[in-house]
Symmetry: C2
Subunit: 350 residues, 2 copies
């Protein structure tokens, strides 16, 4: 087992100085062709690669991006990572991943672990607990230390940073309009509590669509699921809540769900109530994942283009990192990029 070779060892072997080796390898004109070739041959033979850590320390730059997301077992988030990784690699960066598990503490700890030189900037989506507590000091501190952040999907306005979001309101509106145009008269929504920013926005889109079409919103048609339900074993409670929705609204003929799980669960429950999809009940879901595509019937969805979001976020971050090197300071102007959603029609609507 041979340790990785260093400039020092090459220098010693070849009986030249370290800097000569360094220059030779970087094709410096200062070095004679003779020694240059000799050094390069030797380096190649021993498969020399500069030590990343040393470079990071020297350049005060790790060429690594930190991603903090609530969870990774989730089609949307993993798509985003795919996009980030794609762009990051292409532009010479690595990607380090931390999971907050929707917990405030884990989010803070994770950021602290990484913000000490390991990474050059963050791309993140905020944990639900953080959104609920509205404690954003860790983001502010990170930014104050000169480490840029790009937020995506779950963002907050008061933090000065670049953001990549989805047109949640418009996307939802389009979805609900689709249901209306398809003849639905009584449209329910299954959404999250309001502290989840995207949930709130999607609810808003739903309300706007109804208003546009002079349909009165009814609170009994709005089911705001408490997200704690999602902790696996509480699937049953979700079903119960949805059952309630159907019971109190027997005439319901359209459902807009803010995520896939709510949608398929709604379909499952609807079947128990003898409703046929899409004949007597049409369903549209936000988020275009595996479930939508492969469940039966397949779901009409509002696709978020997660990969594109990731790509854009990575580009924003890296651009900022590399422009910072150039410009010293100056008024920073932050960008909020909206990635358009797309309605993908499948079998759950007519």
């Amino acid at each position: 087992m041979k340790r990785k070779i260093t400039l020092k060892q090459i220098a010693k072997e070849l009986d030249v100085s370290i800097s000569t080796v360094s220059k030779a390898l970087r094709n410096s004109v200062e070095i004679s062709e003779d020694t240059r070739l000799k050094v390069q041959a030797f380096a190649k033979l021993y498969n020399y690669r500069p030590n990343n850590i040393a470079l990071s320390l020297k350049n005060r730059k790790s060429n690594t991006i930190g991603i903090i997301i609530p969870e990774i077992v989730h089609h949307f988030f993993s798509k985003v990572i795919t996009g980030i990784e794609l762009v990051a690699n292409k532009r010479g960066y690595n990607v380090i991943v931390g999971l907050s598990n929707e917990s405030f503490d884990k989010e803070v700890i994770n950021m602290q672990m990484l913000a000490n030189g390991s990474i050059d900037g963050f791309i993140l989506s905020i944990a639900k607990e953080t959104l609920q507590q509205q404690d954003y000091h860790h983001f502010k501190e990170t930014i104050n230390q000169g480490m840029p952040i790009v937020m995506f999907d779950r963002v907050i306005n008061e933090i000065p940073c670049d953001k990549v979001i989805v047109d949640d309101v418009r996307g939802s509106r389009k979805a609900v309009e689709k249901l209306i145009n398809n003849g639905c008269k009584t449209i329910g929504i299954i959404t999250t509590k309001d502290y989840v920013s995207v949930g709130k926005l999607r609810t808003q889109g739903y309300l706007e669509a109804l208003e546009d079409h002079k349909i009165e919103a009814e609170s009994s048609l709005i089911l705001k699921v408490d997200d704690k339900l999602l902790s696996e074993n509480h699937l049953e409670s979700l079903e119960n809540e949805i059952s309630n929705l159907f019971e109190t609204n027997p005439k319901i003929d359209g459902i807009f769900a803010v995520n896939e799980l709510y949608a398929v669960t709604a379909i499952k429950v609807a079947r128990k109530f003898g409703l046929e999809i899409p004949k007597s009940l049409q369903v549209i879901s936000f988020t275009d994942g595996v479930l939508s595509k492969h469940s039966m019937p397949s779901l009409t969805t509002v696709s978020q283009h997660g990969q594109k979001i990731g790509e854009k976020a990575a580009d924003l971050l890296i651009n900022r990192l590399e422009q910072e090197e150039a410009i010293e300071e100056g008024e920073e102007v932050f960008e909020t990029v909206v990635i358009e959603t797309e309605l993908i029609e499948r079998e759950s609507t007519k």
Copy 2:
């Protein structure tokens, strides 16, 4: 915007030497309580944290694990990452992720990018292309350089490293036995080409189960899908291949699929043939993901416990990293841990 504070700056501010500051912060007894408290207070005020990169360079250890997987938009792999991240964080490590996209070249490049000091060891699952080309030099070189690897799921015997696998053969056998015991007479398998190690093993389990029960295997019942089909737009070809399976085997009454997608697609096609699930066709799938749980009917699956695999892999790697520090060399003995699969019964079987 204030850069992160360093020992040097603290030293300057407090008019003491760098080493005094360093010692004071580490509660060295060498330092007087007076200065110790003074330094600590100041450090706390300015929120001092040691620079990770400098530590890595000094200790020749980054406390970071590199993960290389074929793709991340995949329930199994993201579960594994969850497990790795959990254990890694608990034991003080970070996790850096590279995606091979099933490509040999990307796998090699990714490993090279990380193997230069950025990480202490790899956890990986081999790309299909690599398996097909059987070119494993990058793994061997990495190991030769003293960087440990832990392989999971898709592994190869000839590489000397720790491995975490699933009892693919037994798991598949149990699944097929279940079908047999449930009365299936004509059981088909939808699997991958043999170069995918796990596909081959699962096929083997299928064959063994049949043999155990004195059922003759028929090649027309074995569908080996070429994985290139999986590239999204080729879903149709998959359906066609499966249609073929049904046409040539009209009496088919059980299907064992090596992954969820094959299973749900089979169900979809079966419906076109007028088959009811599970009444006239029972289906079991390997891999327990979202699709299995939430599709209708829900699928009976062989669960791999992806998270457990990740946890075990991380423990193996970190153990080795930390024992290496102790022992200098010696005969290395590698471990192959088998994580038992579990049959989860749902609606797609009787």
